[in-house]
Amino acid sequence: MSRARDFADLAGSADAGGLTGRNVLVNGSMAVSQRGTSSTGQGASDLFLVDRFHLNTNGNSAGRFTVTQESDGPSGIPNSLKLACTTADTSIAASERFFIEQRLEGQDCQRFKKGTSDAEAITVSFYVKGNAAATYVVGIYDSDNSRQIGAQFSVTTSWNRVSVTFPADTGGSALDDDNLESLSLRFYLHAGSTYTGGTLQTTWDTAVNSEQVGSGTTSFFDSTSRTFFLTGVQMEVGERETPFEHRSFADELARCQRYFLAVANQATYAPVGVGRAWSGTTGNAAYYFPVEMRVNTAISVNDLSKFDIVPSGGNPTEVRNDGGNKQSAKVGWVSSGVTNGNFYQFEFGNNQDGALFFDAEL
């Protein structure tokens, strides 16, 4: 077979979505939502619902919204992230800003060769729809170099795929090759004059707040009928979009669990881990993560009464981080009735409502 034929076949495979590893984003299909499928009354502070998509509110708009993982999407992508405005904010203060973002580790962005003479173009593609026509901004923020770029895009009442190619950026320095944030893909949905006062920065340059969103965009909070749906988000090297890269649910879940792990919906009395009491009221249990976390995790539980320390400890009164690393956590607990040096099991109680959260998000 000729070399030309090989290349033609390769191009055909790429066009059919056959080449994997193109999308640097995680959970672009919105398939994984470990924190739940709906959250209401949001807007006062930041949150995640669908994994990896950070809802950055700045905490200063009166606008409120419901966020859901929807069973709605374009052909072949069954899930989406939906925002529905529940409290409008038409008196927009200068510093208000609301955007959806996915932050990326520097070590995962090296393929863009950003900040070098070999820098590559970056193409971002995604599917969107809304309750009515709207115009928003998609942008990339480079936190290593405080540089940014953006482009407007349109939303209609039907699913449409949007593709934006940002030119190669040879400015600034090379992105850090580490596990900290280097790039953030952002969808700006609401902004005050601090961010809209200038002309949108459509070429890479040092970030200027007033040029981050620019003028002529829609405010998501302009009406309680406003909705915004997003899915099929892809960010890749090159000057044109390729078909959305489908991954198995298991693959996508594992990628998400590097940043956030919910241990929930376990069987009755399911053990979390076993460990030793180190005083008459405290002890810890080892929990080994299914994938290596990005950093040491913060730990939270949704309801202490749903957990037991056995034998003889009863419900824990506190759960905390007693150390650990990116592979495992020492889940510390406080409970009365234990004996220093004895071993205890930290377990779910006689229901399936408890949840234990490990957070290593960017």
């Binding site: 990005r294 939270s300 007693d322």
Partner: protein
Amino acid sequence: MNDMNITSAQYVVGPDGSNMSITIVADGQTWSVPNNSPGNRFYDEIMRQVEAGTLTIADAD
């Protein structure tokens, strides 16, 4: 930067007697954050607010 409304923060002593973690209430949810863990978004935000003078970490009980 993360926008977190941290309403309380307190060091917690671990098995070795050092300040092993910081218990915070952020946006109404209690989190136990590993101490000295730059890169953890909660720890970074705690330190940012401490440096800004808007948050004080209470000593361990």
